[in-house]
Subunit: 599 residues, 2 copies
C-alpha cells in the first residue's frame, strides 16, 4: 500500500465526482474505457513505487552538482526517464502522431499527482519534456517535429523552458536575450543571452537538452510584444550532418532549500556567438505560445503542491496512529497506558486540515482537468465558457494548493513534534520541497495580479459569471436533493455572495480609480477566491458521499469525506470573513505608504 | 549599521513605550542608569557583529558532528562562549553572589534578541547555561553552587536541560529515568535512563557539560509528582579529588532541517551503572523547579523567533529597495526603467506584515520582561497580579512570534522570489531556523492546552481579568487623550470584548462538559489571544508615536510605526473574526471524529 497518496480517493474523484465515464464518451477519448484507464493508473502506481519513491530521500541528499561545466544528477534519473518514456507517460495526453495515447488530461493529471507524491523532484523532468514536445508538435516545422519530438517523448532527451533572465523574472517585458537571423528564410537564428533558474537545464541523465527560449529578434518591438520563441538544442546537427555542441554554457547551478533532486541552472547562450536556434511558430508571438505551456505548467505546480501535501498527510497520519503519547484530557490516572496521538483533538485537527486542503485541492485540479478534457474532447457547445472558466481558475489552482499546502506540511511536522524537524522522517523534506511552489511559474503575488487584473475583468466578467453559475448549480442541487448538506450549501452560498459583492466593488473601483488602488489587495482576493473554490469542491465531494450514506453504502471512506467537509466549513471557509473585512475597507494604506516608511 | 535588527526600535520600546527609567528606580536595578544600560546594548551589538553574525551561515553549513563519541562544533563556539562569559552576558540578570550584574530582564532580553537576530544557533549556548546556573544558585548546596556556577557563568562550561525521553516528550508524567541514592544523606544518586533532544548536550566548545536531569527516585509516586531534579555533570571529581568522566554516553546526534549550529543529542545516562548526580532542591519537586527555568526558556523561544523574523525583515527590506523589477500598474510604457520592488503594493504588504509581527512580538516580549522586572525589583503592591499576568502571557509570548514568525520568513522568501529559495541569500535559512520554535519547549498545541486548560481558569480567572484590565486601560487612554487613535482603540476593544465572550463561553462549558470538549479548540483560542495581545502592543506603540507626530517631532520612524499599526489593524486583527466564528460554533467535530474517519 502506497503511503503517499490514496488510490481510492483518486477513483472517487474520477468516477463519483467528475464523471470520467462521461469524458470517455467524448471525441478522441472514446478509444479508452474505465478498465484501460485503471490499468494506466496501476502502471503509474508501479512506476512510482519502483522507480521514484525509493529515491525520494537520496535525491535530496545527493544534490546535482556542476563538474567541468556539466551537471551530474542522481544516476536514477537516467533509468527513470527511460521508464517514463517506455511507459508512454511523457506523451500520454498527446495525439497519436508521435505515439501519444490521447489519455484524458484527468488521467495524466492523476498520474502526475501519483508521481509527485512519490518523489516530487523526479516528477519534474518528464513533465517539462511533455510541455516542450507538445509546443513543438503544435508550432514546429515537420523537420523540427521529426527531429525533436520522438526523443523527448521516449525520455532520451530533456525539454526545458528558458524564460527568466537576471534582470527579468516577473517582468517578462524586460527580457533581453537577442536573436539574429542567419538565413533569409528566417528559420535559424543566432541566440545570445543569459537565462537563469532553468529547471533540468542541463544534466547527464539524458543525451540532449532541448531549450525553448524566449528571445527578441533584432528590431522587434519593446515589451512582451517583441518576444519570439526559439528551439535551442544543446546538441544539433551541422551542415555535414555531424552532431555538434551548440554554444550553450552551464555557468552555474543553484543550491536550493528543497526540490534538490532537480538541477536548476544558469545558462549562457552564445558566449562565443555560435549558439543557434530555430524560430518556433510566428515571430513576436513567443509569449502567447509559451503561455500555452505555462498554463499547463501552472496547473502542474498546483498538482505537485497537492501531491506533496498528500504525502505529508499520509506520513503524519501513519505516525499519529502509532506514536503513543499522553492521555485524553479527562483521564487523570497516569498509570493508564498512553494513547496513540491520533486520539488527541488537536492532532485530529491537524490531520483534518491536511486532508481537507490536499483532497480539496486535488478535487479542484481534477475539476480543471475535466474542463480541459471537455474542451479537447469536444461534444459540447459551450467550449469557450469552459476555456474561460479554466483560465479564471488557473491562478487559483496554482496558488491555493501551494500556499495552503505549506500549512499542511507545517502541520505534518507539528504532529511529529521535535522529531518532525529532524531528517529521520520525511516531513521536513516535504516542508522544504513544497515552498518552491509559491515561487516558480509566477509567485503568489503575480497570480493575484493575474486573477484580479486580468481574469476577473476579461470579457466584461464573463468567466467570473460562469464560475459563480457553476457553484450556484451545486448549491441548488444540495438544496433540492440532499437536505443533510443544505446547511453547508447555504454557507457556501453566503461566501459566494460576499465574493460576488467584493468582486463588484473592486470592478467598479477599477473603472474609477488608478489600477494601483484597485489591485493593491490582489493577493488577498486570490486567497478569498481559493477558499470559496475549494469550499465548492468539498460540497461536490460531499454529494456522492452523503448519497452513499443515505443508501446505506456508507463505509468509513464516505463518512471520512463528510467529516472532512464539515472540518472545511467549520475551520477553513470562515477565513473568508477576515479577508472580506479587509477587502471592504476603504483604507488604501498599501498605496499610501511610501518607501521611507518602511524602515 | 546592523542589518538584522533596529537599535532605534529597541530604544523606542525601552524608553518610550515601557518606561525603562521607571524600572531603574526599583530595588536592585538602582545601580544602573540609562547611560550604563546603553553601554551594555552597545557591547551586545559589538559582540553580535564581531563574534556571532560572521558565522551565521558557516554554522549552518558546517553542522556539528559526532566523532568517536564526542560532538565537534564549529570552532567559533569556544571563542564565542568565552566572549559571552567575559562580557558578563551569561550571568547578566543574576545577582552579585557569582558576579552577576542584576541587569534588568528587559535589557538582558534586548541583548538576547540582538544575539538571536545575528545568529540564532549561536545564541542558544549561553542562554542554556544561564538557566542552569540560575537554578543551581537557587536550589543548590554551597558545594554545588561554588563548584558549578562560576564556570557556567564564565562560559568555560555548558549547561543543559535534560527532560525529554524516547517515550515521553509532551507527556512528562511518563518520564522513566531512574535515580537511586548511594549515600544516606540522599545527596548523590546513581542515574540511569535515556534523554533525547538535548540542546548543546555535548560539544567540544567547552570543558564540561552540566546537565539538569529530570528523573524519578525509586519508589517515588507515579506521574509528574514523582519527578526530581538532578545535577549530572559530564566530568566530576571523585573521592580522591581527581577529575573523572561520568557515565554519560552521547549515543546520537540529530540532523535537523535548520538550527544546525547547535548540536542536539541523544544521551545515555548510566549504561554502565556508574553515572552519578546530585539532587537539586527537594525530592519530588523537580518539575516545579524545572519550570522556573522552562518559563524563562519559553519567553526565550518567543524572543528568538522574533529575532529571526526581524532579521528576515531587514534582509528582505534591503533587497526590496535595491532589486529593480517591473513597473507600477498604471505605467504602460515599457521603455521606462524598472522600479525597485519596494514600490509594488504587494511587496509593501509583505514588508508591513513582517514589521507588524516582529515589532509587535518584540513589544509583547518587552512587556513580559517589564512585568518580570517589576516582580523582581519590588516596589509595587500588586506583585502577584504581575506574576499571574506573566504566567498567562507566557504561552502567548512563546507561540505567537513562532507561528506568525514562520509567515514572516515565508514573506521574506516571497520578496526575493525564486532567489529566496536558494542558498545565496540568508532568507531560506531563516525559514528553516525559525520552524524549531513551534516545536521545542512545548509545541504550539501544548501551549494551547496550557493557556486554556490551566492559565485562563486559574484562580477563578483572576489572571485573565488582570490582562483585560491592562488592555482596557490602554484603550481608555487613547479614547481620552489621543483622538487620532480612538478608531483603533475601538477596534481593539471590540476584539477584546469578543475574546471575553468566547472565554466566558468556554469557561462555562468547562464546568458542564468533559474537558476534552472544552479544550478541543485550544490552539485556535491561543491564536485568537495572541492576535488581541499583539493588537494591544500596537496600540501601546502608537501612543508615543502619535504624540510625537502631534508635537511635530514626527520623523519617519514614528510615521512608520503608525503605518504599521494601521496595517496590523487592517490585515492581522480581522483574523480574530474567523477564529471567533469557529469558537462560537456548537459543532464538536474534533471530539466526534474518530480514528477510523482519518484515512
Amino acid at each position: 500500500m502506497a503511503e503517499y497518496y490514496s488510490r481510492r480517493n483518486l477513483e472517487f474523484l474520477l468516477t463519483e465526482v467528475f464523471d470520467i465515464e462521461g469524458v470517455l464518451k467524448l471525441g478522441v477519448y472514446k478509444k479508452h474505457d474505465l478498465d484501460s484507464i485503471r490499468m494506466m493508473l496501476d502502471a503509474a502506481d508501479q512506476l512510482a513505487q519502483n522507480e521514484l519513491h525509493p529515491y525520494f530521500k537520496e535525491m535530496d541528499q545527493q544534490e546535482p552538482r556542476l563538474e567541468g561545466g556539466k551537471v551530474k544528477v542522481h544516476p536514477q534519473v537516467r533509468s527513470m526517464m527511460k521508464k517514463f518514456g517506455e511507459g508512454g507517460w511523457i506523451s500520454a495526453s498527446s495525439g497519436p502522431a508521435f505515439g501519444g495515447m490521447d489519455l484524458p488530461i484527468m488521467i495524466s493529471s492523476a498520474a502526475n499527482y501519483i508521481f509527485g507524491a512519490a518523489n516530487f523532484s523526479a516528477s519534474v523532468f518528464p513533465q517539462l519534456s511533455t510541455g516542450v514536445a507538445r509546443l513543438i508538435e503544435h508550432y514546429g516545422s515537420d523537420f523540427l517535429k521529426h527531429t525533436y519530438v520522438p526523443n523527448l517523448y521516449n525520455g532520451a532527451w530533456q525539454g526545458t523552458m528558458a524564460m527568466t533572465e537576471p534582470d527579468a523574472g516577473s517582468s517578462l517585458s524586460d527580457l533581453k536575450t537577442k536573436a539574429v537571423p542567419i538565413n533569409e528564410e528566417n528559420e535559424i537564428f543566432r541566440i545570445k543571452g543569459q537565462k537563469i533558474f532553468i529547471s533540468a537545464g542541463d544534466h547527464d541523465g539524458v543525451g540532449n537538452v532541448i531549450h525553448l527560449v524566449l528571445a527578441r529578434i533584432q528590431d522587434a518591438p519593446e515589451g512582451t510584444k517583441g518576444l519570439s520563441l526559439f528551439l535551442v538544442p544543446q546538441k544539433m546537427t551541422n551542415e555535414e550532418d555531424k552532431i555538434v555542441l551548440n554554444d550553450i554554457k552551464t555557468s552555474g547551478i543553484y543550491h536550493k532549500m528543497g526540490y534538490k533532486g532537480t538541477p536548476i541552472v544558469h545558462l549562457s547562450f552564445g558566449d562565443e556567438d555560435r549558439c543557434y536556434g530555430y524560430l518556433l511558430g510566428e515571430a513576436n508571438q513567443g509569449l502567447a505560445q509559451m503561455f500555452q505551456m505555462m498554463n499547463e505548467a501552472r496547473i502542474g505546480v498546483g498538482l505537485s503542491a497537492t501531491a506533496i501535501a498528500s504525502a505529508a498527510y499520509y506520513t503524519s497520519l501513519n505516525y499519529a496512529k502509532e506514536r503513543l503519547q499522553g492521555r485524553l484530557p479527562d483521564e487523570k490516572d497516569v498509570s493508564k497506558p498512553q494513547v496513540p496521538i491520533i486520539k488527541h483533538a488537536d492532532v485530529k485537527r491537524m490531520l483534518l486540515q491536511q486532508k481537507a486542503i490536499s483532497e480539496g485541492s486535488l478535487s479542484l485540479l481534477m475539476n480543471c482537468a475535466r474542463y480541459a478534457d471537455i474542451i479537447k474532447g469536444g461534444g459540447v457547445e459551450s467550449k469557450e465558457i469552459y476555456q474561460l472558466t479554466l483560465d479564471l481558475l488557473t491562478p487559483v489552482a496554482k496558488t491555493f494548493p501551494s500556499e495552503y499546502g505549506v500549512q499542511c506540511t507545517a502541520n505534518a511536522i507539528q504532529i511529529f513534534g521535535g522529531a518532525g524537524y529532524c531528517k529521520d522522517f520525511p516531513v521536513e523534506q516535504y516542508y522544504r520541497d513544497i515552498k518552491i511552489h509559491t515561487l516558480h511559474e509566477g509567485t503568489t503575488g503575480i497570480h493575484g495580479l493575474d486573477l484580479l487584473g486580468r481574469k476577473i475583468i476579461m470579457g466584461g466578467g464573463i468567466a467570473f459569471r460562469a464560475f459563480t453559475e457553476e457553484v450556484t448549480k451545486t448549491i441548488k442541487k444540495v438544496k433540492l436533493e440532499i437536505l443533510e448538506l443544505n446547511k453547508y450549501g447555504e454557507r457556501l452560498g453566503d461566501a459566494l455572495f460576499r465574493l460576488q459583492n467584493v468582486t463588484m466593488r473592486l470592478s467598479t473601483m477599477a473603472m474609477k480609480e488608478k489600477k494601483e488602488v484597485f489591485m493593491a489587495d490582489a493577493t488577498l482576493y486570490l486567497e478569498l477566491f481559493g477558499l470559496v473554490a475549494v469550499g465548492w469542491q468539498w460540497l461536490l465531494q460531499a454529494i456522492p458521499s452523503q448519497i452513499a450514506v443515505n443508501e446505506n453504502r456508507g463505509d468509513e471512506f464516505y463518512e471520512s469525506k463528510l467529516y472532512t467537509m464539515r472540518y472545511y466549513f467549520e475551520y477553513e471557509l470562515p477565513k473568508t470573513e477576515s479577508i472580506i473585512t479587509r477587502l471592504n475597507s476603504s483604507d488604501n494604506l498599501l498605496v499610501e505608504v511610501q518607501d521611507e516608511h518602511l524602515i
